[in-house]
């Protein structure tokens, strides 16, 4: 019988010939992780399950990214719970301050996830990993505890909607703009409970960095997972990092899709999500001029090397506007080092940007750049809900890194071509 890539991966993880949308399955998981916010609760629930050890210490990771380096005593206490657990159970994959980065970026970079995997994390943006051709989904702490205990997770097999991306993106239009445009069209619950499968020739032109920012935001449309078939770009990226064997699945040509939507990628513009929903998507030119207090380049959505390169193209030889602040947070230490070697960090420093060790920090209004009442931030993150980055009367515009950098230079929302004319060399 014909299946989508999502269905094939799930079928393989229940040792069945097929699974059908709507079916509830008890699925084997290849890898699980939690972060410094979700791990303590997962550990507490795991301990209630009376299971002495995790199902496979080599398939469990804890990654500190949200409130690290610890912002206060309470968050330090939370980290301590996880550190103690990791040591007591002698778990090998623990990423603490200095070696740690934003989990979704770091775990892919470290090769813990690959094509064909079922990958589960106690963080909603776990869907990020679907760009590698894996089934990856976010769950809460109790679910994670159960997966840590049993190596299995109950799942309802999702219906798949296929997005066929035609043509090629224009300069300054990135994977981020593409996914924002889709969310703008279908709404923040437009893919609720389903699988979003991205396909089409526009993808072939996109690097892994851009692909990750697309699947990363599948959850902003309510999806269970976002996924792409692995191709040469995937393999070139994944092979040098691989830690386990992988399996390449492709959707059957006659697979059963709930819907197939065509998107002309070449017609898309550079966009932003205006406050306070990722679904409020408009061309950046429509809101160019809004005064901006802070610009933030980072996060699991757009804190990768190509994002930093794009920002540096705009910022090179320029200064951050006197009434605006710029924060740059590379998503992982490896990206930080690479940015250093490429001279990007120098450019950000010269421009007057503040650069921080890898952390989610400002993305959740946690620390390292919290907004005051009435302040406006242009952010490369994925959510602009009320109060997301600070005061409930602060506002967040979501954008690509070029827009955030241009807005930092001009002190107002701006299209990058208002600052630089040349196309982006990525």
């Amino acid at each position: 019988m014909s299946m989508t890539i999502t269905e094939k991966i799930l079928a393989a993880h229940v040792d069945a010939d097929e699974v059908r949308p709507g079916e509830i399955i008890d699925c084997r998981v290849d890898f699980v992780f939690a972060n410094d916010i979700t791990a303590p609760l997962a550990i507490q629930e795991f301990q209630k399950m009376d299971i002495p050890q995790v199902f496979d210490p080599d398939r469990v990771a804890f990654v500190f990214d949200h409130y690290v380096p610890s912002k206060d005593i309470a968050s330090a206490q939370q980290c301590k719970i996880t550190r103690d657990f990791v040591r007591a159970h002698d778990l090998p994959h623990f990423y603490d301050i200095g070696r740690s980065g934003i989990a979704h970026v770091l775990l892919a970079e470290e090769g813990f996830v690959g094509p064909g995997d079922v990958f589960v994390g106690a963080d909603s943006h776990t869907c990020n990993q679907g760009a590698l051709g894996a089934f990856a989904t976010g769950v809460g702490s109790s679910d994670l505890a159960a997966a840590m205990a049993l190596g299995r997770l109950w799942l309802r097999v999702p219906e798949t909607v296929k997005y066929v991306l035609r043509g090629k993106l224009q300069p300054w239009v990135t994977g981020k703009d593409l996914i924002l445009a889709i969310i703008g069209r279908i709404g923040v619950d437009g893919a609720r409970y389903g699988a979003m499968e991205f396909a089409g020739e526009a993808l072939a032109h996109l690097s892994m960095d851009e692909r990750f920012s697309i699947t990363n935001m599948a959850v902003e449309a309510g999806a269970k997972n976002g996924i792409m078939e692995p191709d040469d770009v995937t393999l070139a990226w994944f092979r040098p990092r691989a830690r386990r064997s992988s399996a390449m699945y492709r959707s059957d040509p006659d697979a059963n899709y709930a819907d197939v939507r065509d998107i002309d990628a070449s017609a898309l513009e550079t966009v932003v999500s205006v406050p306070s929903s990722p679904g409020n998507v408009v061309p950046v030119r429509e809101v160019a001029g809004v005064k901006v207090d802070q610009c933030f380049i980072g996060t699991c959505t757009n804190g990768r090397i190509e994002d930093l390169r794009m920002a540096a193209t705009v910022l090179a030889g320029r200064k951050v506007h006197a009434e605006t602040r710029l924060l740059v947070i590379p998503a992982t230490p490896r990206i930080y080092r690479q940015a250093l070697e490429e001279g990007l960090i120098q450019i950000f420093l010269d421009a007057g940007g503040a650069i921080s060790t890898s952390t989610c920090g400002p993305c959740i209004g946690g620390h390292m750049g919290v907004l005051a009442e009435g302040e406006v931030c242009v952010s490369t993150s994925s959510r602009n809900f009320i109060g997301r980055m600070g005061h409930r009367q602060s506002q967040v515009y979501l954008s690509n890194a070029g827009v955030a950098a241009a807005s930092a230079v001009l002190g107002r929302l701006a299209h990058p071509d208002e600052v630089v004319r040349a196309p982006v060399p990525v």
Binding site: I24, I37, T38, P40, L41, Q44, E45, K48, M49, D50, I51, H66, Y67, D72, A74, S75, Q77, Q78, A122, D123, S124, T126, G138, V139, G140, S141, S142, D143, A145, A146, A149, L150, W154, V188, D189, R192, Y193, G222, K224, S277, I364, G365, G366, V370, R383, F385, I386, G387, R388, R392
Partner: protein, 167 residues
Amino acid sequence: MTIRGKAHKLGHHVDTDVIIPARYLVTNDPAELARHCFEDLDPTLRARIRPGDIIVAGENFGQGSSREHAPIAIKALGVPCIVASSFARIFYRNAFNIGLPLVESADAYAGIEDGHEIDVDLSAGRIDDHSTGGTFVSTPIPDFMQRLLDAGGIVGYVHAQRAQRKQ
């Protein structure tokens, strides 16, 4: 099982950031989380919710983050169940995992006003509005979710799974 309570009506797409802002995610203590529940949505709402009151919301309740702290905070306010037109996926799992039942009914959302006394019959899939006499049908709770509720949440479910395997 029937739950009676006063309805607090909220809008569509209520997200986990307004249910419990991330700045408070430095504790797992349900009572502490409850103190900040819905703070960014309406700072006065928390004080108006009495134990036993029921949340009635629109589409996609609980969208956003995976933070289980969100249903934990609501449960710790004493809310025995949530009625909504629809729920976001992770919130849905999390709520059942901690033993907080969710009931889907777009008709109930359309028909029930803020402050109405309502009865939610979980097993029959029925919601009665005593203030108007209106009756609404809810989507039946899937068998699997019912088993989770019966086990008292995912921890109990895991215990049951292991007992079964040992047999």
